[in-house]
Each structure stands twice: as C-alpha cells, then as structure tokens.
Symmetry: C2
C-alpha cells in the first residue's frame, strides 16, 4: 500500500474543460446517470448518448433528460469524444475491450467501477491502453437505475485514479478536470492497493449490511414489529442491504481474496464481542467498545 498518494483539494491541473464534447455513457444507471447530469450542468457535454441492453432504461433516461439519444455501442463510440462506462464490473471487461478495439487516438474512455485490479490486468496489453483511464468515484447510494440518478452527486468525495502513468496526459487532465469540477478529491494508487482499501472501506460495509438484513429477516418474523420499531440506528446499518445484487455480486467476486481477509477479521471481531457477553466480562466489553470509538478520530 506504499503507493498510496493523496493530493489535497487544491486543483493542480490548469486544463480547460473540453466544452461541448459528445459523451457516451455505457449503462444508464445511478453512477452514469448522475455523471451525465453533472456533465451537462457543468457544460462538459453538448450531447450525451446512452448505451444499454435495457430498452426501458434508455427510455427512462431520455425522459429524465439524462441522455439525448440512445444508440448501439459501436455507433455511439464512433460519434463520441469521451466514453464513460459504469456497468457491473464483470461486464465491464468485455465491453471495455469492444470499445477499445474501436477507439482512435483522439478519443478517451474511462470506467467507474468499484474494483480495479482485474480490469487493469485484462487491459494492460491492449494497444489503446493509453486512451483508457481507470477511475473509481467513491460515491453512491443504495438505489439503482436511471431514476436513482441525482444532480449534485460526487461532491466532497474521493475519486481514485489507478495506474495514471499508463494513460496519456491529455486523457488524465481531461478526466481529472471533470471530477475536480464536480468537487471530488483526487487520490492516486495502484490497482491492487485500491482493491485492498475498497475491501476495507466499502465492500465489507455492504457485506455486513446484507448479512444484518438477513439476520433480522431470519430471526424477526414479526415484520410489523420491525416496521414499527426500527429507528435511525437500524436503518443506517441496513441501508446498504437494499443495494443491487447485479452490481455488487461481481464486485465481491472480483475482490474476493481481499474481501475474505477482511471478512475473516470481522467475524473474529464479532466473536470477541460474543466472548465478552458469554463470560459477562464487562471490562473486556468496554475495552472493545472504547477501541471502536477511535474511529471518531478518523471520521470527521
């Protein structure tokens, strides 16, 4: 993880926005939809083309003003200055290769996926690798689909760029300028480090939330009671359990080794709580909780 390098918010790039670009979003969901809305708002896109396997999503995205037109992938790529891919991470590999096979040296492509190692590895020898930039804007909600897209997304969050050195400088500058204009803080690391950090900070939170929902659904058969009693604490810890399996299952699978490491540690931490309760060891219980309180130091 020694390669993690965190730059501060100060915009070190002086690149001007390539205003009025033709942009294709591949996938018309939460991330790509919010991204497209932001591009239009900030004047980066004069035209947004949508690509999706789901006709209904394209219709919805058009209605919501997220895209101007829907086209098949090949036609969309041909017409675009910049292509932004935000689909499940397993599909990304195939689709990204298709796009890069069509790409010219004047075009640019980015992904927004939550895993980076498998994708970067799959693309490392592609002749157009230098026109691709691997990005992970660390923003999201538990909702999905074009109707989940919102304006004002991304602001104040981190955006990880991986293997920056493998991407042409004009592409890096262009894409960073967009993210910075949206209010994101750029963070640079190699793909392997990204995936380890993502396992700790994002993926395990989703797993625990899914598992907590299953726990409560299994044990608490009286749904009326959950509904009546569930307060803010419960809602915030199970919120992520509403997340899309189609989006998250491939993320967990691609990052399974790192995630298993963290999951094993998490189960072992839960067992410490269990032991303190079983042995009625109040002192140990308080010690575990006081240690957890140290997270305050880190979160604001």
């Amino acid at each position: 993880m020694e390669s993690t390098e965190i730059l501060d918010k100060e915009n070190s790039s002086t690149a001007s926005a390539k205003e009025g670009a033709v942009v294709t979003i591949v996938g018309v969901g939460l991330i790509s939809g919010s991204f497209a809305l932001a591009l239009k708002e900030k004047g980066f896109a004069k035209k947004v083309i949508g690509v999706s396997r789901t006709e209904a999503s394209l219709q919805k995205a058009k209605q919501l003003g997220i895209i101007d037109v829907a086209l098949p992938l090949e036609e969309a790529v041909k017409q675009s200055d910049f292509i932004y891919v935000a689909i499940p991470v397993d599909a990304t590999i195939t689709v990204m290769k298709q796009i890069m096979d069509l790409l010219t040296d004047k075009q640019m492509v980015a992904d927004a996926g939550s895993t980076k190692f498998v994708l970067c590895d799959a693309l490392k020898d592609h002749p157009m690798r230098h026109r691709f930039i691997a990005t992970h804007p660390m923003w999201g909600t538990e909702y999905s689909g074009p109707e989940a897209a919102v304006t004002g997304a991304f602001t104040g969050r981190a955006c990880v760029i991986c293997e920056k050195e493998k991407t042409d400088l004009d592409v890096v500058t262009y894409v960073e300028n967009i993210y910075k204009t949206l209010g994101m803080n750029m963070v640079y690391m190699d793909a392997h480090s990204h995936d380890i950090h993502a396992a700790y900070i994002s993926h395990i939170s989703h797993i625990t939330s899914f598992a907590l929902a299953n726990t409560v659904l299994e044990k608490e058969k009286e749904e009326d009671a959950i509904f009546a009693l569930a307060g803010g604490g419960f809602e915030s810890t199970v919120r992520l359990a509403k997340s899309s399996p189609a989006m998250w299952a491939p993320i967990f699978m691609q990052n399974r080794e790192n995630l298993l490491d963290v999951l094993n540690e998490h189960i072992s931490q839960l067992r410490k709580f269990k032991a303190s309760l079983e042995k009625e060891n109040l002192e140990y219980l308080i010690e575990l909780m006081e240690n957890a309180n140290k997270i305050k130091r880190i979160l604001q």
Copy 2:
C-alpha cells in the same frame, strides 16, 4: 411476542397536558436533555431540575437552557411532579428504587432505558410500582452528554411502553400525552418481548458497527487512506461505533441472552457470505443478497 400491540398514530388519549409541572431529569445527557428541551417547548414543564453525578454536565446543561436548577436527587424528587430517568441501565435500577422510596401517590416517574426486563423485574414488588411507567422512546444519536441534546428529537419514532397495566391510568395518560405531543407512535408490549425486539432492531446494529470499526482499525493501518476514501456507505455503517460505552455496555449485558441469540445468527449469516466467496458460488451469493433486499419491503 404475541403481546405486541401496535396502535396507529391517531391520538386516542384526550388527556390535557399537565402544564407547568415541575420536572426532574435524572441524567443530563442526549435523551434526558432532548426530552427536557421538548417539555419546555411544548409547555409541559414550568421548571426543570437536573440531577447528575457530574458537576460539569450540570453546569453545561444550565448554560444550554436544558435545566433551570441542579439539585441532589432527594431534594429534586421532593419538589417534582414528574421525574424522568435516563442514565445507564445498570445505574437505573438503584436510582429508580431510591426515587420510588421517596415517591408519593401524586408523583410520577418514568425511565427511558433501552432494556426493560431486568428493570421491570427489579421493581415489580415495590409499593410505588403503580406510579412508575416503563418507557423506551426509540430515538437516539451516536453522541452523548448535554451538548448532544437537540430540539425536535423523538418525532416520527416509536415509543415502547411496557407493562402498562401495572401503572396507574393517570400516569399512563400523562406520559403518553407527552410522547404523542412530541410526535411519537406508541407501541405496547411486555418487557421480555421488548428486549427481544430491541436486540434484533437496535442492539445488534450497535454490535456490528463496533465490530466493523475494530475490523477496519485492525486491518487498515493507513488512517489517511480511511480518511480519504471513506464514503457514505462506510460512514453510515460505522456511525454507531462512536456510541458511548458507558451507556451501551450495560444495555448489552442486561440483554445478553437475546443479543447472543441474534449475534450467533449474524455470524452464521456472515459465514454464508464467506462460503459463497470461498467457493466462488456467484449464484448463492446473489441469492443471499436478493434475500437481504427484502428488507426494502419493510423499511419504507
């Protein structure tokens, strides 16, 4: 759990507010402080007396306009129409007995604790049991102390009343009228059922959050990376890990049997995720996640 009875928001009580009561809050923290601010705002209290072992908290509560005066417990009880106890649940048992030993038939006392069985059991034979009402307003934040008190707390949340039948009707009517005026939905159940539901819906969320914080702190030594990358998902799942050990450790201990039941189930649910990852069983992983998605049906 057959005794759970959920009434709708419609206020079935016609009791008028006993305006201008002298109210003592025992403990001057998040819950009691927010409660006192609400009592003043809604005209229920003409005077609020604060009782605490911590002089600094009393001073702070006075500065913040939460209490008008600080007094020792015995003097405070003598002067009060209504006493509201919101201190750690282990201390509540002792203090509640002290209060009830001083109580007359015209006075009323309530607790606001997150566990109910041990307290109700400890008080069941007290000659003044009929002037006590066991309540659990299911609201809170991860912060503590008088400076954590806020106006507008409690609204839209459930308030559980236990063993209503053991409390005089005038006390029930008075206290319910306050909670309803604050916008709470009354839910009635026996103390044992309350504790089971609380384990599922509140206590386990806190345990998982504490354990997740410990997991990340243990594995992720690069605190700068957590700080830079932690997005909304992480923050919402570890938010409760900031909670006060002094308040929560006694809750977990009093409810340890129910909590251990839920904790065992939760560990077993996490193991299912672990197995699906270890075996690279995407189908099973998706099945687990789709099941968790059912929580949507319950949470709005």
